[in-house]
Symmetry: C2
DNA sequence: GGATGTTGTAATCGAATGATTACTTAAAAC
DNA sequence: GTTTTAAGTAATCATTCGATTACAACATCC
């Protein structure tokens, strides 16, 4: 996870000749692309599609606004590519869990699962994927990026992609993890609840509100400390 | 449900004297307020807070943009009041179900519940409230209005209200309906999944996509036909 | 060492938008 | 019937934002 996002204006920035022209470090377009997408994910995740500006993305990526626009053409394209990237990360995370489980590499993790839920492959995979999902909260904005796409259905292109993406996830859970439609539904529902709790920033009032505490503990279980830590870290980052 | 939203520009509109000045029908401010809030709910539900304009709300309410702004002060206040109204409707719908159940007025409806889920008060109330929740899909945008608030946590005032509102709903389900924290969580999770499926407009591809069909049937059950009908009606309305 | 392509920015433009101001007119009060 | 108040709009303003244009500087190739 290359979470650098170098702001070249700091010390040692390559000052250009005589005029004070702060230019970003020159790096290959492909790498810059990935940095912009990472920055865009964070911005879109926090403020949504309509609420974000290309300039905010540019600032977060440490470059100028016109460069962002020129590299992606339009704000919509930028959003769609960030969405694809986020969805790809989610699908990959799930597939890695499934592959590791089937390869018998998770005997350690299996000890910590709730045995009351069941010992079949679908039941255990459901729990393992839920943990993998919660782990993604750490990775800056992946989940909220998806959530923002889900409520931006008004934009035709985004709505279409969001539908496709959601169905992709459903099919993965059902066909590759082998969950029944009903279990898949419940799995997705838990994920949407987690997204919502993150969206309303419930972890920020964890210590001040008893109800929030109960709901968060009940929903996140063993992953709560990690989420609380991530919440605090993000608040410090602004 | 007074779903009038009269556009006075039609026939019989009160033409003002000599100059062609299309003025909306004069009605008391309190009533106009409610019409604006209803219109705002629809607009915000579809496009989100940042994606909506006061002019879109004004057009939907059949009045001029300055009047909207003058009546509510700012767009943010308008959003917050529409949010309060939507949340109030949801809480009222749940409380009505609980009251009717406790008064023994739902013997008919109880026959149609899934008996496998359980016959205790919490189990039956959970199912009845889920039906009441799905019923709200019909009422133009209540659910998506809430959903949009949940992802607008970046706006401090909206985030705070959304947190409070969500916790209110949780407490109602837990304390007034008597669900355990875990059952409450599952109930809310199902609701968030429903919101998401509506948000990505999955009903619109029900007939073209087998996976969408399965997921929708599995999630909405007996309420699916009603939701599909509402979806078609909303598409016709544009 | 000049030509060329790549990486990047400054400046700016037009459209959109929330808000303000100054009116107009219908209805109520007296 | 005149005054007053409440309901509503047209016009406009200052910002903001996505996009475009034109240009600057660095690297690479011959």
């Amino acid at each position: 996870m290359s979470s650098v996002a170098k702001k070249t204006v700091g010390t040692g920035a390559p000052e250009t000749g005589s005029t004070s022209q702060a230019t970003a470090e020159r790096i290959p377009a492909a790498q810059r692309r990935e940095l912009i997408l990472e920055a865009a994910t964070g911005v879109f995740a926090e403020r949504g599609y309509a609420g974000s500006t290309t300039d905010q993305v540019a600032k977060a990526a440490g470059i100028s606004q016109p460069y962002v626009v020129r590299m992606f053409g339009t704000k919509e394209t930028l959003f769609l590519e960030a969405l694809d990237r986020a969805q790809g990360k989610l699908l990959r995370a799930f597939r890695e869990v499934i592959a590791a489980y089937d390869a018998g590499e998770l005997t350690e993790e299996l000890q910590h699962l709730d045995p009351a839920v069941g010992n079949g492959r679908p039941e255990q995979l459901k729990q393992l994927m839920a943990i993998a999902y919660a782990d993604l909260v750490e990775d800056r904005g992946i989940l909220m990026m998806l959530m923002q796409a889900f409520v931006a259905g008004h934009e035709p292109a985004i709505g279409a992609r969001a539908r496709e993406g959601f169905l992709d996830i459903y099919r993965l859970v059902r066909d590759e993890a082998g969950l029944s439609p009903e279990t898949s539904r419940d799995f997705l529902a838990q994920g949407m609840l987690m997204n919502t709790l993150i969206g309303i920033r419930l972890p920020e009032v964890y210590e001040q509100d008893e109800t929030a505490e109960e709901l968060l503990e009940c929903t996140l279980r063993s992953k709560l400390p990690m989420v609380l830590k991530a919440s605090k870290a993000q608040r410090r980052a602004g």
